[in-house]
C-alpha cells in the first residue's frame, strides 16, 4: 500500500510541470539552470531515479531535500510531532464535542435545539478554515488579547502553558473541518438506535433514561461513528495544510505545501509515504477499536 503510494507520488510529482524552485526562478540564467539540474541529478530518467530512491528508502533513507539539502527523514521528524499534536487535539475536540451534541440533537429530534444545532453544523461545514482561522485570530488575539495569534511558542517563553495557549486557536479551527460530520453521524446513528426494540425493552425494564442512553443506546450508536472517524483522519491531515499556513504552525501540512510548490521531489514523496502510513495505521486502529466496542466482531 505504502510502496504503491510512493511510486504513484514519485512519478506524478516528476510529471508535474515546472521543476525545483531553485531552477524555476525568474532570475536564474539558462546556464545556471542547467548546472543545477545536473547537480541534482534531475537530468536522469524518472524510473531510474525511482528505483534508486526505493532501494535507499527500504533501508530507511528517504533522500535529501532539494530545497535545503537536509535529510528528508530529519525534516519530517522535526515537523511530525507538531502535526500530531495539532491533529490529535482537533480530533479529541471534535469527538469530545461531537458526541454530546449529536446525542442531544437525537434526543431533541425535530425541536428548536435540534434545528439550531443542525444549522450551526451546516454553517461549520460551509465555512472555509482559512477564513475562520483569521477571524479567530482577530477576535481572540487582536481584540481580546487572550490568546497568541500564531506559532507554537512565544518569542521569549517556551513553557507548557504557553505551548497549550498557542494550540487552542489552530486546534479549534482544524476541528471544525470534521466536527459537523461527526455530529451528523452521531445524531443519525443515535436516532436509528433509539428506534430499536432493545431500547424500548430497556426503557420498559424501568432503567433510568441516563442508563438507557449511555449503556445501551450510545454503545451501539458509536459503532458506525468509530468507522467514520477512521475515514475522517485523512481529511483531518488535509486540513492541516491550510490551518498550519494560517497559524504559522510548523507542521507537516505546511511542509507539504512548500515542498509541492517548490517541486521538492524527495520531500513530497517522503511526506506522502509518512501520511499514507498514518492513514493505514488509523484504519487499523479503527478495526481494533471495533472489537472493543462491538463484541460481535472478532479478529480471527
Amino acid at each position: 500500500m505504502v510502496v504503491f503510494a510512493s511510486a504513484l507520488t514519485f512519478f506524478f510529482v516528476n510529471l508535474a510541470p515546472g521543476g525545483p524552485a531553485s531552477v524555476m526562478r525568474f532570475d536564474v540564467s539558462a546556464e545556471q539552470r542547467e548546472a543545477l539540474i545536473h547537480r541534482m541529478g534531475l537530468d536522469r530518467p524518472v524510473p531510474e531515479r525511482y528505483v534508486e530512491w526505493l532501494a535507499a528508502a527500504v533501508r530507511g533513507d528517504l533522500g535529501s531535500s532539494l530545497l535545503t539539502d537536509e535529510p528528508v527523514a530529519q525534516r519530517i521528524g522535526e515537523r511530525l510531532p507538531n502535526t500530531l499534536a495539532l491533529a490529535g487535539s482537533a480530533l479529541l475536540l471534535s469527538v469530545g464535542a461531537g458526541i454530546p451534541i449529536g446525542v442531544v440533537q437525537a434526543l431533541r429530534r425535530g425541536r428548536a435545539v435540534d434545528h439550531v444545532l443542525s444549522l450551526l453544523s451546516a454553517v461549520g461545514l460551509a465555512v472555509p478554515v482559512f477564513w475562520l482561522g483569521i477571524v479567530l485570530i482577530l477576535v481572540f488575539a487582536v481584540s481580546l488579547h487572550v490568546l497568541p495569534s500564531a506559532g507554537v511558542t512565544g518569542v521569549a517563553s517556551d513553557s507548557l502553558g504557553d505551548r497549550l495557549a498557542h494550540l487552542v486557536l489552530p486546534a479549534v479551527a482544524l476541528a471544525t473541518t470534521i466536527l459537523p460530520t461527526i455530529v451528523r453521524f452521531v445524531r443519525s446513528s443515535t436516532i436509528e438506535v433509539l428506534d430499536e426494540d432493545y431500547i424500548r425493552t430497556a426503557t420498559s425494564k424501568g432503567l433510568s433514561p441516563r442508563t438507557v442512553i449511555t449503556r445501551h443506546a450510545l454503545r451501539n450508536a458509536l459503532i458506525p461513528v468509530v468507522s467514520a472517524i477512521g475515514a475522517l483522519v485523512p481529511r483531518l491531515l488535509g486540513g492541516t495544510v491550510v490551518t498550519e499556513a494560517v497559524f504559522g504552525w510548523p507542521g507537516m501540512g505546511r511542509l507539504a505545501l512548500e515542498a509541492a510548490q517548490g517541486r521538492d521531489y524527495p520531500l513530497v514523496t517522503g511526506l506522502t509515504v509518512v501520511v499514507a502510513a498514518i492513514a493505514v495505521a488509523a484504519s487499523l486502529a479503527v478495526d481494533l477499536a471495533y472489537t472493543r466496542i462491538d463484541p460481535r466482531i472478532r479478529l480471527t
Binding site: P17, M24, E31, T68, D69, S149, R254
Partner: protein
Amino acid sequence: MQLLPMSFRPSACILVVALAVSACTGAGQPAASGAPSAQGQPVAGGTVTIPIGADPTLNPWSPNAFVESLFINRVIFEGLTKPGKDLAPAPDLATSWTIAPDGLSWTFKLRDGVKWTDGKPFSADDVAFTFNDIVLKKELGAQNAASYAAVKSVTVVDPTTVRFDLSRKFAALASFLAYNSGIVPKHVLSADPLKTTSFNKGTPVSTGPFKVEKYTSGQSVSLVRNDSYFGPKPYLDKVVFTVVPDPNTQIAQALSGDLTIMILDNKAAVDRVKNASGLTVVSRPLVQYYWLALNQTDSRFTDVRVRQAFVHAIDRKAIIKSVELGYGQVANSPITPALKAYFDPSLSEKYPYDPPKAKELLAAAGWTPGANGVLQKDGKPFQFTMDVGQRGVLEPVNALIQQDLKNVGVIADLNTMEWNAYIQKDVVRRDYTATVNWWTYPSDPDVFPYYHSSAAGKGFNIPGYQDPKLDDLLVQGQSASDLEQRKAVYKQLQAYTSETLPYLFLWYPQEIDVLSSSLQGVPELGLRDAVQYIGEWWLAKK
C-alpha cells in the same frame, strides 16, 4: 519626505502626478541625506520582530536563498559595498576602490581588523574564495552568478587588498557588489560552499552587526548583537525573524503588536492598518517595474506601432489605483524613480491613456475593425493568449489589461497558471505570446542583462527584443567612466526604450511598510534595503 502622515491619500497623489509630475516624484523619494525621521535621542535595548514567509537559507549564494532569505542575509553578511541611503554604492567591507585606466581591473582596499563571529580574522582570502570558488564556478549554479558574467577572476594582492579582473568594462561593479553579494568565510565553507547545512540552516559564521543565535525550522530565526562587529554598536539587543506564511496572519500579528515592522503585500489592508493605534504606515520607493512582454518571434508584435498602441490602450493609472491603491507611478522606461540620479521624469506623460490614438496606430499598422469590432489583418482576427502567473497582483492586472485591449478591438485570452509551471513555460521554454511580470534589479541603471540582444531567447531578455542601437547604448553605459557620462547615456537609453518599447512598461510600484510607532531610525528605503542599516534602528521606550 517619505514618512507619510496617516491622512495620506493615494488617490490625491495620482491627481498630483497627472498635474505636476515632478512634485509628486519628489514626494515619493527619500531625502538624499536620509534625515532622521525620529524625535529624541536613540536608546539602547529591545527586540525587533520581522515576519518572513518561509524558512530562510542563510547563504547569499545558495540557489535556494529565496526572497525570504534576503532580509537575514543582508543583516548578517556584508558585501564589499552596500547600498547607500541614496542607493549609490557605499563602503562596507571595502573602504575604497580604484579603477584601472583601461576599466578592466578594479582594486578594492579592505577594512582592517574585521573579525568573523568565530573570532577568525576576515581577509582578502575570503573575498577571493567567495568569488573564485563560488560565484565564478559555473557548475555550482550559484545564485546571482549571472550578475558577474564580466568578472574573470579575483586576485589577492595582499591581506587587505583584492583585484577584480574583468573581461569587459563594467561600470556597475560597485553597485552590483552591494546587492545580495555577501562575503562568506573560506575557513568554514571551503569543503562545500553551498550545501553546508550547519551554516545554511544553522548558525553561520558572519561579519555583520547581528549574528544568528538560534534557527528553529518553521518558526523563527533569532539574531543577537555581534559584539565583535567593526562598526558602531547597534542599539537593539535582538532581531527575531518569525516565519508566518499567511499574509493575512502577518497583518493580524502586526495589529496585535507581535511584529515590529513588516512589508504590507496586500495593499487592500492599508486602511485597516492605518486606523490601528500604535502602528505607522509609510511608503517607500523600489527598484522595480512591471511590464508586459510581447514575444518578438510573433510578427504581429515586431511593429513598433502595435506596441505603442497597446501602451496607449492600457489605462495604467487605473491599474495603479485599483491594484496598488495608488502606491505607484506610470512607467515608461526600465530606470525607476528610486534611482534618483538617473531617472528622467520628463517621460512620464509620454503615453497617456488614449484608446482612439491606439486605434489610429493599429490602423496605421494594418489592423482594421472587422465584424463584431475585433481588429483584423489579412482576414485574421487580432487574438492571442496572455499567460498569467499566480503571484502577487498579476491576476487582477491581467484582467484589467484584457478589458482595455478589448476596448480597442484586440482579444487577449487569459491562461492562468501556477507559478512554477508558468516559469517553466514562459521563461525556460519561452513558449508564450504575451505575459505580464516585473523586474527587480540592483540599484544601478545597468539593465544590460534584460535588454541586450545576446540575452534574447535564453537570458533575461524575455521579449527577445534585438536592436543594435539599444545594444550600443547598453555597452556605452557599462563603459562610461564617470557619473555624468553615465547619466547622459542612461538618459538616452530611457528616451530610446520609451520610444521603441522592448517591453511595454506598466508601472513603478512602491512598497508599503507597517511599523510599530516606537520603532525609530529606519532609513527611508524599501525594507529589504533598510535592514542593512539595522544598527541605526532603535526602540523608543513606551
